[in-house]
Structures are given as C-alpha cells and as structure tokens.
C-alpha cells in the first residue's frame, strides 16, 4: 500500500469520513474516477500522470451530495475548479477535505477554502505550451481559414453534451439548450445550431473557465472545443485581469464592470 491508499484507509476507518472520490486504474492506460466508501477498497486508489481528469464536477452531484463528510483526491485542474466553485457558492467550506500533492509526491491535507486558495496560488495558471501553440495556430490563420476550420469541427458535433457534463462550471439545473420556449439551440445537430451551441457555451464560461481542458477530453469526436473557452478565458485576463480559479471570493468578469473598461470598436 502506498501513502495515498494508507491515508484513505485511515480516514475511512476513523469514521469521520464516509466517501473518498479519487482515481483508479481504468482501461487502455487511462485512469477513471472512483468512489470509495469502504476502507478495504482503499487499495484501488492511484495518483499518477494518468490522473488528469478534472473530477471537481462530482462534488456537487446529487448522488453523493448527502454522503457523510467527503474527501476528494485533487489534481491541479480539480483544485482550481474547487476554488472557482467556491467563489460561485456551489460548494461549501468544511463540507469536504482535499488531498493534494506536493512536488515531491507528499500528500497535503487541505481542510478549508482558505487553505485550498493558498495552495492553488502556488500552482501554474495558464495554458501548456502545446495548448498555447494550438491557439496560435488558429489565431494565425486567415479569417476564411478559421471559419473553414471551425465549420468543419462544428459539423461533427453530435450534441451529446458530454463537454457540458464534464465541466465543473456547467452546473445549471436547466441549461439554455434544454429550453424550448423559445428553442434557443436547435435539437437536430446541424452546423448552424452546433455553432450557436458552442458560442453560447463559451460565452457562459467567460471569466469562469479554469482552462483545464476537460471539455475537449470528454468529447467523443475530439472536437478541440476547449480552445473556445480558452479564448474567452485569455480575453478575460487580458481585458479585465480576471483569472478564474484563483480566488474564493472574486466576482465573475462578466458580472461586474469598471467605468474605465477600454475597447476601441464602439462608435
């Protein structure tokens, strides 16, 4: 048993904690989320580079909402999402404990939002080199090429909404896509409706996306739709100096304003 498994076992045996949300070995070299309620199952837990899924999305799910005090094993994506969810009052201080990892692999216990926020401040916020290169590739295209690129991508979307389900920030009980009076987003998946869906998703995540990339990873058709929310996240930073997932009390970029906000296109 490694440190994490021992720790999990102790926590469950102590009776103070009823559920551990973490990762277990999945198929084809991937990790998948696991929900552990019994101490003897603690040995299922793993934590390595394969554990890149953002599992903050489970924290507020109905199925585990009423479980006795929870523990979540968090990678850096999950940690940032927890901070943003805290800022939006979707998770509550003291409802769960976070197990994070130091650079040397040591387990760090984070019990309060303040501790989580402090820890997150030590993490890198921004796109990876590969992600930044993808953004640049698209931004460097001509307008026509960019349109052709996205038209092709949007045409593939089957509107399964896995991207939405995987995103910790998409928690509205009734999403605009489910509203049919009026029907904002068409039911059949044609390119026009898909484009509207993706513009809407990105706009609703402006100033809230923590650039974890989970939406893109969840897409069964591998649409690089995380780049759309990266775009609004980067702009929120550039225009409004707002970076989601860094503060447990910050307001969303689009929920506030400054009279001196500067643009150069309004006549």
């Amino acid at each position: 048993m490694n440190n994490l498994q021992q720790k999990a076992q102790q926590l469950l045996e102590s009776g103070n904690y009823g559920l551990i949300v973490g990762y277990e070995k999945g198929t084809s070299g991937k990790a998948r989320p696991v929900f552990i309620r019994k101490a003897e199952h603690a040995s299922k837990l793993i934590f390595d580079e394969s554990c890149d899924q953002n599992i903050a999305v489970y924290l507020y799910r109905q199925e585990i909402k009423h479980d006795k005090k929870k523990v979540i094993v968090a990678n850096h994506h999950t940690l940032k999402s927890i901070v943003e969810l805290a800022a939006e009052n979707q998770v509550f201080d003291g409802d769960f404990m976070v197990l994070a990892f130091a650079g040397n692999g040591d387990i760090i216990e984070l019990n309060t939002f303040e501790e989580i926020e402090k820890h997150v401040a030590t993490l890198y916020h921004g796109l990876t080199e590969a992600e930044a290169a993808m953004m640049k590739k698209i931004e460097d295209m001509s307008l026509e090429d960019r349109w052709a690129f996205w038209e092709n991508e949007f045409s593939k979307c089957i509107k399964c909404y896995a991207c939405r389900a995987s995103c910790p920030m998409c928690y509205c009980p009734t999403c605009t896509v489910e509203i049919n009076q009026p029907q904002w987003i068409s039911v059949p998946s044609h390119t026009l409706g898909n484009l509207e869906w993706h513009v809407m998703r990105a706009m609703h995540l402006a100033g809230r996306c923590v650039t974890c990339g989970q939406c893109g990873k969840a897409c069964p058709l591998e649409l690089p739709i995380q780049l759309l929310t990266y775009k609004v996240a980067l702009d929120s930073k550039q225009f409004f100096d707002s970076v989601a997932g860094t503060s447990i009390c910050a307001d969303n970029a689009l929920a506030i304003f400054k009279p001196e906000d500067h643009e150069n296109f309004i006549r």
Binding site: V199, E263, R267
Partner: protein
C-alpha cells in the same frame, strides 16, 4: 430577388437599440426629417444590458447581413450600469466571433444619445455602406440552407 452582384446588393440590417437613448435618438432623426438608409429594422430593448448575444446569433441565423447595436453613452444608462455590463460582454463576444472566423465588421457598436438624431443617421448610413461592401453573408447563408434541409427531414 437574390443577387450576388455586390453593387446592387442591399444588406438586411437589424438594429438592437435601447429604449432610453438610441431609440429616442432615432425618433429625433425622424422628427428632424433627416433621411437615412431604409435597410435597417429597429428592435427596441429596455437596455443594452438586455441585448443577449444569442439574439444577435439568431439575427444572423435568420438572414441578417449586418447588425447595429446601440445604446446610451457610458454614465448615461437609465439603469445606471446596463451599458457597462453590455460593453464587457461585447468585448468578449466580438473576439470570440473573430476566433471562429466570423467577420466582426458585420456588427457595428455605437453609443447614440436621445439628443443625437444626426449621429444615428450617420451611424446607420456608414454601417449600411460597410455591410454593402462586405456583400451578402454567404458563409452563414450556407449554414442556414443546410440547417433548413435537416430540420424539415
């Protein structure tokens, strides 16, 4: 009456304006008998803050070649801050559209007060000229055609 000849092309333009400033301004344009392009269909909103970006998407999806959005100048909002919120949203929205390859020159943003009847005529005329230059929104029309086919099926 579809024509691809950009010289005779008359763009379909929708203007989303706020009730308190630009709508009143456009009224003044009329009562001052200033002539301006007739391409524009004006839709009145309580406030620029109410002009959801999805409404703009729907205008394009229904065949608009260009859109004008206009409201009270900063610090003049009837509801104090609706236009400030709207401005932030437009900054993000405009860049997002550019990122997916839409020509943001098809949307004109302006502040027109209730006293600026002449400015409204100018904004509309300039915008219509600009949209005429850009020609019909053909790339979007292609998507519309394709979607109609699918929805009927």
């Amino acid at each position: 009456m579809e024509t691809n000849n950009t010289n005779n092309f008359e763009p379909k333009v929708v203007a989303f304006v706020c009730n308190w400033c630009t709508y009143a301004g456009a009224d003044l344009t009329g009562t001052s008998r200033i002539k301006y392009a007739t391409n524009v269909k004006i839709i009145r909103f309580p406030c620029t803050g109410r002009i959801d970006f999805m409404l703009l998407m729907k205008a394009f999806a229904n065949g608009a070649d260009g859109i004008i959005i206009s409201g009270c100048h900063p610090n003049d909002c009837h509801y104090t801050s609706g236009n400030f919120h709207a401005r932030r949203r437009w900054m993000i929205f405009r860049n997002l559209l550019d990122f997916i390859g839409m020509d943001v020159n098809r949307i004109v943003f302006s502040w027109v007060s209730a006293a600026e009847g002449a400015k409204w005529a100018e904004v509309v005329n300039e915008s219509v000229d600009q949209f005429r230059q850009l020609g019909p929104a053909t790339s979007y029309q292609k998507l519309i055609k394709n979607s109609e086919f699918q929805e009927v099926e």
